[in-house]
Point group: C2
Chain length 295, copies 2
Amino acid sequence: MSKKPYFPRVALIGIGLINSSLARLISRDKLAESIIAYSRKEATLEEARALNLCNDYTTDITTAVKDADLVVLGIPVGANVSVARLIGPALKIGSIVTDVGSVKQSVIKDVSPYLPDGVHLVPGHPVAGTEHSGPGAGFPELFKGRWCILTPESTTDPAATESIRNFWINAGMQVDIMDASHHDQVLAITSHLPHLIAYNIVGTAYDLEAITEREVIKYAAGGFRDFTRIAASDPTMWRDVFLSNRESVLEMLGRFTEDLASLQRAIRWGDGDALEELFTKTREIRRSLIDAKQV
Amino acid sequence: MSKKPYFPRVALIGIGLINSSLARLISRDKLAESIIAYSRKEATLEEARALNLCNDYTTDITTAVKDADLVVLGIPVGANVSVARLIGPALKIGSIVTDVGSVKQSVIKDVSPYLPDGVHLVPGHPVAGTEHSGPGAGFPELFKGRWCILTPESTTDPAATESIRNFWINAGMQVDIMDASHHDQVLAITSHLPHLIAYNIVGTAYDLEAITEREVIKYAAGGFRDFTRIAASDPTMWRDVFLSNRESVLEMLGRFTEDLASLQRAIRWGDGDALEELFTKTREIRRSLIDAKQV
């Protein structure tokens, strides 16, 4: 068993789905003396305050991080550079900075240049989420039974990594440690590409001339509705994911398109065996997922 | 309100997810004097018998239909021609033949030539389902709150159409009547294309060299798992759907691919505004779906 993690002061930078879930979890399990939430937007802080998620709330990012032992970046990955530049000089020596973003090479590139010596960066990605956003969307069980990936560099203090590992284990997650570049490839296929094609098909449906939006909605139970759920995910967050993981996303998209062209050909030429063979194989993968309790 | 439908004898041709749900519904609501189930496979009939779904069970399709007032084809659409050829001569004059398939032009083309005068064909499509198959997968509430589409021809007896309409309303569905060709177009985007791209992405993930199947499964919570559910749908049924609705599926696939190429370009060139604009629009569609209670 892991030791219960404890940080006297936690700063949550951004208070959306993930960080507000964390706030609830930290309070519930008494993992900190106090939590301070930062948001650019006063309205978001008001929402968090009304839910009584943290002890302190501020729109001043320097105030947020200056006494913090743990800083959790829960913001769109495209905002990392500007946030790192602002918090760098204010961070406490010995503190740990982690994040919850879906892309990991970019956080290392964007944040580490601004961290003073003695501040530890442990990039993290709890692979969990819903299509809802904002402080009201969080819940402490969001992470339970899911996997968290940490991508420390070879120079990262092992004690800092261990401390973040314990933190996520306490949240109910299983933790893997891997290279940031491998993370970005794996997530490109298990998360980024699924979102991209869900956004795309919903967009395609929206633009049809011969079929009304009302018809699409009425008959969505045939499969479409599952895609609309994913395609309702936070627009800014996902814009940044695609731009920050460009290379891996384009690589996976290339493979997807190639495979789709081959399926298209099978349909055009009536090659039923090729179709049935693929559909039988994909069914097996669902079974493995059920066996692994990841449904 | 609609009149409670009643058919002295119902023949269910095929006893998978949809027809076994119907068997349960007909028994529960006493919509027939007796139900007979036909399957090619003795094992499937045994399963239905063990669940006590019907009154009679047969692997002889002529026996199944000969006294039936309502015949429901619940088989992969590719089997319609051979089934119609077999049952045609045995059908009772005045009986109604309907189906539950996901493609409607093909059922008219495949079945109607074999029906004797005085037998009514009312093609139907209850837009409801799960990724599970077989007699054990059905449940009577499957249809509740969903839409059913009927595609009678202009020459179809209105009384037969009305009778099938009442039947589905009784099952808890809302019923629309439209042209078979329009149905096939609408379903190509709301159901067939979603299945095709879900099958495709799961296949793409399976074929990656640098990422193991175990990794794909562990991190599936990032979006991929929703696709595996759809990609676990019955392989034979879906092979037939794509082959039978070839034209509309290829048309929608062409539009999807075109839109995807444009998204790909936006990612490559870092056009964040184009991405965010699409992702904001698709979020709206999800909201409409929630408002229409189709999630």
